[in-house]
Symmetry: C2
Subunit: 256 residues, 2 copies
């Protein structure tokens, strides 16, 4: 039996606490290669680096684990792994995360973690984005590791149809306080920003994004936001055909 | 009658040729405010700037037109416009573009132009992303302007249902060579990268993304890729619920 190969990436950077937690999830299932950003890439969505050269650095290697840092975005890391470093190998799964902060609802669109997971799912293997609903530096990743292992195990054991990309969000709390896994749809909502304004030391005004999430359907029990708020692990399968089929019908009467 | 207010942004930067073409489209329909990136932001997807302060610069103003440059991503520009500069006004439409290069098929996911258009559609007005299938510096935007005006005119004249976000891609060629508008779905496909490798002047190896698009359904006449290749303007309505409803059903048997 060939050993499985798992690619791990994230958007918080190769040396983040959440990446170590993702490696812990992955190592139970096979050999692990990490290709993760040199620097924090939160909010980078599915961005790619078009106008800059990128540098790859081998950070360290031990039995069953190789870690590389790449100077690009999370999606660049996935491309570097599949199209260069591992191009002659078969990758069985991509894990992206574990993110410091949830990527539920519309956050899936802005998330570098999910950008990388989506990109991974383009390479004929399942991809799982793992996020913990806790931004704190001392966030407790135990529950995310427990449920990450369970979900990855189930995916690898089953004959899943491809493409498959999961957006997994784990609530704050110890593993025993979590009620289980819920398959959900993406909650509708949006962000409204308050731009923090201040003057820099040279007297130039600057702005800083500080937003607030507006939940468009707070009572909807089949959504990821509801699951998270009610101590469930929210699992949303994600696809990338953005076509609005409803509007496609409507517009026949609008565009001449 | 109140004059309409149109927000224009892009990902190629406030002083690009394509932006001037988008302003030409917009000015026929009302007062225009441009908030566009200071620098090129191609491939920035729906990225937001979380860890840097952002600077806003008023570039110039003339009758019915104000132009601002913002140091962030295309999505940052849209947020700056709606949540700060224009927060007390009603914006009737967002135009993002006109992009140098098409954003058909899976490119919608990586595109800063479409990231901004999608973000615009979160603010209770229609949003139109315009792209021209020509990367050259001397690209001819005439056809994109002609069809951009037609589509924007139709959208503003109709009582369109919201949210509405259009991904409009215009083929290369003079306006008279184009066969008309086709409503399409997003073509399935993906990119495979060839990393260009070279050594920098200090002897460090670097990589540069150079990809090739793989069309997953080359014969499908209802897709944007087919329309573009056959001299039609491709119009794909775009939505942002990424839930994979098919997999949502399948996974009930996989995740315990």
């Amino acid at each position: 039996m060939n050993e499985r190969l798992i690619l791990v990436t994230n958007d918080d950077g190769y040396d983040s606490k959440g990446l170590a937690a993702a490696v812990e999830v992955a190592r139970g299932f096979g050999r692990v290669v990490v290709v993760a950003p040199e620097t924090t890439q939160s909010g980078m969505s599915q961005a790619i680096t078009m106008y800059n050269p990128l540098y790859l650095r081998r950070v360290r290697e031990e039995e069953g684990l190789e870690i590389y840092a790449f100077s690009g975005t999370p999606v660049d890391c996935v491309k570097m792994a599949f199209d260069y470093l591992l191009r002659d190998e078969r990758v069985d799964l991509v894990i992206s995360g574990i993110n410091h902060g949830s990527n539920s609802a519309v956050n899936v669109l802005y998330s570098g973690t999910m950008g990388a997971a989506i990109e991974g799912s383009f390479y004929s293997c399942p991809a799982v984005g793992l996020s913990l609903d806790d931004h704190r530096d001392d966030a407790d990743f135990d529950a995310a590791v427990v449920y990450g292992k369970q979900i990855v195990g189930d995916i690898l054991a089953a004959e899943v149809e491809l493409p498959l990309c999961l957006n997994v969000n784990v609530p704050v709390g110890r593993p025993e306080t979590i009620k289980g896994i819920r398959l959900c749809r993406q909650n509708r909502g949006f962000w409204r920003e308050e731009f923090y304004r201040h003057e820099d030391p040279r007297g130039r005004e600057y702005f800083w994004l500080t937003g607030e999430f507006v939940n468009g359907e707070p009572g909807a029990e089949d959504t990821d936001e509801w699951a998270l708020a009610n101590s469930y692990v929210a699992v949303v399968p994600v696809q990338t055909d953005l076509t609005d089929y409803r509007q496609l019908k409507n517009l026949g009467n609008v565009l001449k």
